[in-house]
Symmetry: C2
Subunit: 457 residues, 2 copies
Amino acid sequence: MRERLVVIGADAAGMSAASQARRLRGAGELEIVAFERGNFTSFSACGIPYWVGGEVEDRDLLIARTAEEHRARDIDLRMRTEVVEIDVAGGRVRAREADSGAEYWTSYDKLVIATGARPIRPGLPGMDAPGVHGVQTLDDGQALIDALARARGRRAVVVGAGYIGVEMAEAMIHRGYEVTVVNRGSEPMSTLDADMGRLVHEAMEGLGITMVDDAEVTAIRTGEDGRARAVATKDAEYPADVVILGIGVRPETGLARAAGLPLGGHGGLLTDLAMRVRGHGNIWAGGDCVEVLDLVSGQERHIPLGTHANKHGQVIGTNVGGGYATFPGVVGTAVSKVCDLEIARTGLREKDARRAGLEYVTATIESTSRAGYYPGATPMTVKMLAERRTGRLLGVQIVGREGAGKRVDIAAVALTAGMTVEQMTALDLGYAPPFSPVWDPVLVAARKAVRAVGQSA
Amino acid sequence: MRERLVVIGADAAGMSAASQARRLRGAGELEIVAFERGNFTSFSACGIPYWVGGEVEDRDLLIARTAEEHRARDIDLRMRTEVVEIDVAGGRVRAREADSGAEYWTSYDKLVIATGARPIRPGLPGMDAPGVHGVQTLDDGQALIDALARARGRRAVVVGAGYIGVEMAEAMIHRGYEVTVVNRGSEPMSTLDADMGRLVHEAMEGLGITMVDDAEVTAIRTGEDGRARAVATKDAEYPADVVILGIGVRPETGLARAAGLPLGGHGGLLTDLAMRVRGHGNIWAGGDCVEVLDLVSGQERHIPLGTHANKHGQVIGTNVGGGYATFPGVVGTAVSKVCDLEIARTGLREKDARRAGLEYVTATIESTSRAGYYPGATPMTVKMLAERRTGRLLGVQIVGREGAGKRVDIAAVALTAGMTVEQMTALDLGYAPPFSPVWDPVLVAARKAVRAVGQSA
């Protein structure tokens, strides 16, 4: 009998799942209906800062696969159609067409929830004024680009100094703006420890960006025309011709919550290792709306990131299609850049380790990206956390220039494998003068961590 | 009682060992005497091609630590003094001073053999003619640089297309020479499988280098002045104003062999995991004169590489100094570049796998270094070998441009951890558009390898 798969949300996770299911089961066996409330499908949200910054010229380059391409593969993709209710007991969803307002129920044998995340918008005065921009969707990006074309001045204020915030700071620098980043934390990049965040602060100032830390935004001030004209904190006002919100996102799980599906402490759906919603044999969930297992801390986290969403979709589609695959969890790897500054992290920060009940030592070293004598060698700071006594690697943070960011992958694999820092010192990493000093910076950090572990016994 | 450590060979392995031993035990406890037959100590042989090519301006930049610096740390370093005999039963070595010819015996409580490697020089006519240059030592490099300053023409022939050969080809391109690489193998870079070597061949031709494969050198032709003027093979002659030998090296173990110490099938010293010469409690060996355990094949290999030598020295020095450390082995990682072409490999090639008795599948994919839409994204080919049925990763080879080479580290760590290609597909690697496509090329290869393993069951 032909089964019916319904997919809610047609971005990375949802459409990867649909595509993989289709690869494994033809249209004669599996009908696939996908609902997308927005105007785009399968786009790279991570690419928006580079589109705004002008490095990526055309919006369509960010679209991995269009609605038409999905439809050509026998996926019944319904754009601008929002699922507004899941009837788990009845095995059906209620959809609403944005344009006509028409609603209808449709049944499913199998359901994939890939509703993504929604941007955090603090309920402050002026937050919805013209001139205040999010950057989560392609429509957001287009609205910002259009606004920049019309902007009278060249002052941009970015609220938030996480990945989106620092990437948008770079984009606005590329656009020739004077950029101020207003940040609630003590340093930018709160996904790093503060000592490493300080390096980011200094490097961003070196790029001409005004960094305001420890600053809670209290309001967006508007002018007589109703448009945003400044970002206000308790202590100061930062004039702005454009305000960009880079505050982060939360799982979009209102629908799932209303349907009684299990949510975790971060508001994301909880799944098993096959990405099935816990307790529900025929419902899967993936992407920015789920929580994932952190393999280092053993706790659930919410990490909205395209690379995870794609993996979730691949796993879900394999299982929906009758195969078998699991998503074992994450180690929390992330990499970003601001102009030539590269920032990377994986595993636990100090406060994560404490929260997980782990005692740890730290080691921070400075080294270079290439052999010191080789042209283009740039400085790099590596911080490593290792468990006290056992020496198990817990986390790595790297701030540097070219060649710094992707070095974090060494630690990501070592974390996944449960290696100790002692084992890491013997890793056979690629060495030649244009690529690395004779001791790779990650190995230099591991050697120092070994000594710290020895003293911690 | 004060012990006496004798070190034979004052380069990476020997002097790392001496320095680490000194760090752990002061001069009151441990006397350290180191013999070096050459003129330099602790230099980066790997850096010579970049010095010759002009990217590294000053020879002294390649010297990590001078003789004077070692002596300042209470190491009795005797330059231009060769150890010509080891009397294992008597616990002493015989040394000969190059300048005076004087010989003397000196005793040891502990001995470190770090005699390095010697270049392979085929016994062919003309091989010792002026104009034929090796590039193993700083003296070699200086002689070549001096010869280039005097050279009348601009034609360089490089014999050999391994790491040294391709790096010297780059150096001569930088020098403005017409470069021909004459190579015995069917493709350059025999440390890769031939299909990947073909990509290197094509890319090097694209750089304007004349690549001659399947060509065994029969003689160096000399002119009336006795200087090299061409490289002859069975089929042709390649005119040369300078000839550079990049044929590789063999362990320098004549001394060890004469002393009855155990050598392996590649002519290198055999050690235990603490880098002690097998069966000899007070003799250690490390660097280019030893064989190392290949953790993937379970067999011994000879891999002359500065990064291993430094690790060996660190382990030896720790053990000599009364601590405890081991060198577990290698996975055979190597990385190199020719202009903007990056070449990397780790683990087993197809023929290595066969030799080790392993059945395997392969997967080769093309991807890009960054998100396809991000400026500067360059193509990259990744070949992966996995064990049949179990899916254990066996090896990875990568040929690409910027960002290709060091990606091999992901596979190097995964090999060390004994991961399967299925496990690799879930690796949490750093992702952002300037750094990687949403599926890192290594993960794309792993996904394809998983399918190949599935078909091999």
